[in-house]
């Protein structure tokens, strides 16, 4: 297997230095745990390097991977939470559970449908523009705009219902 060329190695190092701290910080805000944030950021870079030569926009790829890994992490921790309290919409409501008492907005974002959650995280949290998010997710820009509107509306409604 051909190793990375010297120029590529330098490019990887540059990208790592440029992007890792912010990516890991971005993930930490979502998972609220330094160790998990490092694991996810490192895994994102590992996957990036595994297919380095075929990428046109490495930074977008990094954030897409990280978004998916965060989603997987939430699913895992959600299952663990569900072992002690029912949180799904299909299940009986837990009168003791109020979203705002959990981890506020982050917990509510976990509950967003995938269709709304990815553009929400990439746009509002990753800082990508509408066009970039649309390209990353393969959806029309207008759809992304509508998804962001609906995501915010759901969060606002949920926070309102939580008694704020």
């Amino acid at each position: 297997m051909a190793r990375l060329r010297t120029s590529d190695k330098q490019a990887v190092e540059d990208l790592f230095n440029a992007c890792y701290p912010r990516l890991a910080g971005w993930v930490r805000r979502l998972v609220d745990d330094d160790e998990t944030a490092h694991e996810i950021a490192s895994e994102a870079f590992t996957r990036l390097l595994s297919r380095w030569s075929g990428l046109d926009n490495p930074q977008s790829y990094l954030y897409m991977i990280a978004t998916n890994l965060v989603r997987d992490h939430w699913r895992k921790t959600g299952r663990e939470r569900n072992a002690i309290k029912v949180m799904t919409a299909a299940g009986p409501a837990d009168p003791a559970y109020h979203p705002a008492q959990d981890v506020d907005v982050r917990a509510l974002i976990e509950e967003l449908p995938e269709r709304l959650r990815s553009p929400f995280l990439l746009h509002y949290y990753g800082g990508f523009g509408l066009k970039e998010v649309a390209a990353m997710l393969g959806r029309p820009e207008g759809t992304i705009k509508a998804d962001l509107f609906h995501a915010r509306a759901r969060l606002k409604a949920a926070l309102g219902e939580s008694g704020d």
């Binding site: 120029s7 590529d8 805000r29 590992t46 390097l49 595994s50 506020d104």
Partner: protein, 485 residues
């Protein structure tokens, strides 16, 4: 009671605090990636055998290599830099035919700065602009902060935005984010507020602290300034010069109350390893001081660097070799107390002309008995100065620019004036300001620079406007370019 809307906005608007990798992280990632790639090669080889077999069996099926997204690139702005032939900037500089403040620059063969892949933040407040290259393919880069007043004194909210068309093109989002240094806004001896790039890789964020990059963005490396504040910086293609000063100004007035100035230099490139050292100046100018708050001005152009000292003397150095500074002469006036950004409000120096026929321009506050408040002087070498004429401006001069066509553009606290004949006659520039007609922004401009005889940029004193001004007709008209993503 906090409304749900406010709560969401607060949460979304929170700063992302960088989480730096533990030592050895990149090496571990590389090892893991190599292991996975090895496995992928094995799997891919097996898959290829199947495909080839199918093609042989069904020869009419065309197949080939498909590369989504066109030609492969390793990473935009990092590995695709071709050889830099020349560089330039409105306030940064070039090589070969050395560029400088207001000089016409050779077109740069470049790619781009290191994009952050995020749009410029909302509420972006520009404080400095630099231009890399000119003509088709140039990049204008603006540095500023994006927080509310006072917020950025302690929070790393410095941002950089770049554009290929001054933000005036048809594309609605022509400004892109450039990975900025982790730094707060200027406050006393910390933070950064100004920006220079010698080329698409080597740049500096300074004022009062100093950070440097050799990759067109992150990582930015903090530079040792020996406890001093960086109040001016310009660069050629291979060497950068900066004025380090001892100052006592507080808050954003970092360049005020400066009483001692020294010229430092560093080679361009390898920002993480290079140190700034005292430039080769005559001994009496190692520590320049007038005993009271003052300023110094530095310009590079026409193959020569010029330093206007606090006492009004002019040092010059050839930028094509040696970089040894010598006393050239005495200017007809001296710098005065600086603005917030470090620009002095007394004398304003600019370099114009050509390499074979350089020309310096200097504005001075009117002499006693003069009919006007500001006068323009010219000099071919900093040694002898000639009064070109009076400058009929009402505000205080803040910045001066020139190019090879003997055009002189002067920014003031009330607007911009320009001359097409080397300062003999002047006209006031017109401004386009939305639907309100034509007027300059309140407070005027802290900086003006020309990238060629037609194009120029200006930074309003009021950074909260979130825009710079651009001209495409030699300074006759200026229009705002809001820095938005």
């Amino acid at each position: 009671m906090t409304s749900p809307h406010d709560k969401i906005d607060d949460w979304l608007g929170g700063e992302v605090t960088p989480l730096y990798p533990p030592p050895g992280s990149l090496d571990r990632i590389r090892r893991r990636a190599r292991q996975r790639k090895t496995r992928q090669v094995v799997f891919t080889a097996a898959g290829c055998a199947v495909v080839i077999g199918t093609a042989i069996a069904v020869p009419n099926i065309p197949f080939g290599t498909h590369q989504p997204g066109g030609p492969k690139r390793s990473i935009a702005g990092v590995t695709t830099h071709p050889t830099i032939q020349a560089s330039g900037g409105v306030r940064s500089s070039g090589t070969g035919n050395v560029e400088g403040k207001g000089r016409k620059v050779q077109q740069l063969q470049h790619t781009t700065l290191l994009k952050s892949w995020t749009a410029p933040p909302s509420n972006f407040q520009p404080t400095s602009v630099t231009v890399v290259g000119n003509g088709p393919g140039f990049i204008a880069a603006v540095i500023g902060q994006a927080g509310v007043p006072g917020h950025c004194a302690s929070v790393d909210c410095t941002s950089i935005a770049g554009t290929y068309d001054y933000g005036t093109g048809k594309a609605s989002n022509s400004w892109f984010g450039v990975s900025a240094p982790y730094a707060p806004g200027p406050s006393g001896g910390s933070g950064v507020s100004e920006l220079r790039f010698a080329n698409t890789r080597d740049g500096w964020a300074f004022g009062p602290a100093l950070q440097a990059t050799s990759v067109g963005g992150l990582p930015w490396h903090p530079q040792d300034t020996y406890g001093k504040r960086v109040v001016a910086l310009e660069a050629t293609g291979s060497r950068a010069f900066a004025v380090f000063a001892q100052c006592a100004g507080h808050g954003s007035n970092f360049a005020s109350r400066c009483t001692s100035f020294s010229l430092y230099t560093s080679t361009v490139g390898d920002a993480g390893r290079q140190a700034w050292t005292a430039a080769a100046v005559p001994t009496p100018f190692l520590h320049m001081s007038t005993g009271q708050p003052s300023a110094a001005d530095l310009v590079l152009g026409g193959g020569t660097g010029y330093l206007l000292t606090p006492s009004g003397q002019v040092l010059s150095a050839s930028l094509t070799g040696g970089w040894a500074w010598k006393l050239a002469g005495t200017a007809p006036c001296k710098p005065a107390a600086p603005q917030v950004t470090g620009e002095q409000t007394g004398a304003q120096l600019a370099s114009g002309g050509t390499t074979t026929s350089p020309e310096l321009f200097l504005t001075c506050e009117g002499q006693p008995g003069s009919a006007t408040a500001t006068q323009l002087y010219t000099s071919p070498d900093g040694a002898t100065w000639t009064l070109a004429g009076d400058v009929p401006v009402s505000g205080t001069p803040t910045s001066l620019a020139s190019d090879a066509s003997r055009q002189v553009v002067l920014a003031t606290t009330t607007g911009i004036s320009y001359s097409a004949d080397g300062g003999k006659t002047w006209q006031a520039s017109a401004f386009t300001r939305g639907a309100n007609g034509r007027h300059a922004p309140d407070g005027g401009f802290s900086y003006v620079g020309m990238t060629d005889s037609e194009h120029g940029v200006a930074v309003p004193v009021t950074s909260g406007l979130g825009e710079i001004y651009v001209t495409t007709d030699a300074g006759q008209h200026w229009r705002p370019s809001p820095i938005t993503g």
